[in-house]
Symmetry: C2
């Protein structure tokens, strides 16, 4: 039995994780979860899954939930997230919160020697050196949940790291892949959120349109698979059928494919190295799809991807600054206080202003994150 | 050091195997080889690779070679093939002869507990039940060399057989893939031999155009990967970039891709489970290729594939009959004594006339083969 603590249960990945648990109750059990501000969502999950521990954002909401569910332990805030992450009765943490708030619970879960299915990009992007060395030291497995990293992880099964010559991440190109750069000036929030292939949360859908999402994935891949940026490529592939590829020294390439369904990588992280059937998932029907398209990425068109490679190579606190600036800028865009192209202007300016500190401790990362957010807010208002 | 005995050294797979040995002399050594009728080819190989044992088809040629190369042991004929297959100083057999002549040396090599890289389709097609059970009993590995089976084998690394739901073999469609069935009546030998993607021997290029080649591969896959025919699909993929795929129960599909270069699967069979660099192999450049196409196979258009599935399902001696009839028919076509479409007519008639014997011994298989050839010759003359 996999006993699961789930951070971010009411988000897109969280809900799909719950769907997997729901469908295979003989294999999976939800022991604990966090739900942020979505207290109504939390109530439904408690009623259905009967977990032992729940965390929400605010104390008031926590108190009300505790009153209504006396058999469940309810906690809240940052401490609550960490309590869920290290919950004793769970052997596996699924970290599906969005943003840099996911970092510290991951580190606590590593200390507690949980198996960690990681869907929170920021954990590795901002503190990859800390997280991967802590995981290595503790003998803890970081299992990727992102479809691209899961694809790479699946392609590496039975292979030796030394034989890998290149990772090739596929990118759909996001909502505006058929637009030129000059057409992006006046795009709306609604247009941005209309992703052609995947149904995801708002923040990641904007990141997909700017390709910051792919940039974060490149940095994440660098840490997860221990390869320099020169050996990590991105290719445009509009159908999102090939989820990513690994090239080996003999020029053989292994790829993972499938109909876009996040439950496949989520479940793989939970069952690895085994697989379980996923009965209502659509089989891949390449003959019906007919054609798969591939195209070189233009870094002028997708400047955010260029910035992410730069941040990754500069390393230190720079990826944290880039990520924090992006989170603030995307929030401002969704709030109609920035235009689409201003998101990247803001991120670039924040990066320019920052002097990276190499091999930073957690405190320095949090400080860089905080400063970058303040700086971005000063740009906007 | 991999010490290699190579059956069929002067054929297409044989020459590419020699190229791999040539380029990595610190890893591979040619200990023994057979060269059939190509005595000039044999001389060159002896001069370059200094093997210890050589076999050619005829006694006269063997005697001349023995006179010219007193330090090499030269043998001939069927016994010579078997002597090469079990040569004591070789740990690995590459069986790259064409046709059913490859069967008995494989069985001898299994008895001698060699690792076997198998490029000879007929071995598994005609006697799959004997070869796989002998290999299992002897604890001998059968490593596929065909690009499709190597692809499947690569995709299965680190995976469990029980989790496989489907094998998907890709088919280029051969020389006439853009022609309709009614356009095939008057196609010439020269047109048939003009394969769009792969440079291969004449027999296999004809088989590729009729799709008997894919049919043989389906039967081979059935034996190599221990799956019923209902779980083995063929899909048209004109670019031959995805070499084949494996679908698992969770609907995740793993595929192996690459520029068409037979040295990749040959070398993989020789280095498995490790990989070695193949410096002058072209890296896959999907952005330059731009598009990959996929299409359902029409069994009316490619009747030979239908016949092969039928022969596989009937099992027993039927695949041997189909294969023998096809070998004779293709030889007659190359000799301008049959038209292209008559190849499949002849194969179908031979199959209709045959009453399959289930779980046949080797003798029954050889007898069925012999009878089918005689029958086909009686159709033609």
């Amino acid at each position: 039995m996999k006993t699961i603590s789930l951070l971010g249960a009411t988000g897109s990945i969280g809900l799909q994780t719950l769907d997997i648990i729901r469908k295979q109750p003989e294999t999976f059990e939800l022991s604990a979860f966090s739900a942020g501000q979505n207290v109504e969502g939390a109530r439904k999950i408690i009623n259905e899954f009967k977990p032992k521990l729940v965390s929400v954002l605010n104390k008031e909401a926590a108190d009300r939930l505790q009153f209504d569910f006396p058999d469940v332990k309810v906690c809240h805030g940052k401490d609550g997230l960490e309590e869920v992450a290290v919950f004793e009765q769970a052997n596996t943490l699924v970290n599906a919160v969005i943003g840099s708030v996911g970092l510290e619970p991951t580190l606590k879960a590593i200390e507690a020697r949980k198996t960690i299915a990681i869907a929170n990009k920021e954990t590795l992007v901002t503190a990859g050196h800390i997280v991967t060395s802590a995981a290595k030291k503790a003998g803890v497995r970081l299992l990727p949940v992102d479809s691209e990293h899961s694809a790479i992880f699946q392609c590496m099964q039975g292979e030796q790291e030394k034989n890998v010559s290149r990772l090739i991440l596929t990118a759909s190109g996001g909502s505006f892949r058929d637009k030129k750069r000059e057409d992006l000036k006046n795009v709306t929030v609604e247009e941005t959120l209309n992703h052609p292939n995947w149904s995801m949360g708002a923040k990641i859908t904007v990141d997909s349109a700017t390709m910051m999402n792919k940039g974060l994935e490149v940095i994440e891949a660098h840490w997860l698979f221990n390869l320099p940026y020169e050996q990590i490529d991105v290719i445009l592939h509009r159908e999102s059928i090939i989820h990513s590829m690994v090239e080996f020294h003999d020029r053989s390439v292994i790829s993972q494919l499938g109909s876009p369904d996040m439950r496949v990588p989520i479940q793989y992280a939970l069952t690895w190295p085994d697989r379980l059937s996923l009965p209502d998932a659509l089989p891949l029907d390449l003959a019906s799809i007919g054609r798969l398209h591939f195209e070189k990425v233009n870094f002028d068109r997708y400047r955010m991807l260029y910035l992410a490679y730069e941040a990754g190579k500069i390393a230190g606190t720079m990826p944290a600054v880039m990520n924090a600036a992006n989170e603030e800028a995307v929030a401002a865009f969704l709030d109609r206080r920035l235009t689409f192209l201003q998101i990247e202007e803001v991120v670039e300016r924040a990066m320019e202003k920052h002097q990276s500190i190499q091999l930073p401790e957690l405190e320095a990362i949090i400080e860089a994150d905080t400063e970058a957010r303040a700086l971005v807010r000063s740009f906007i208002t």
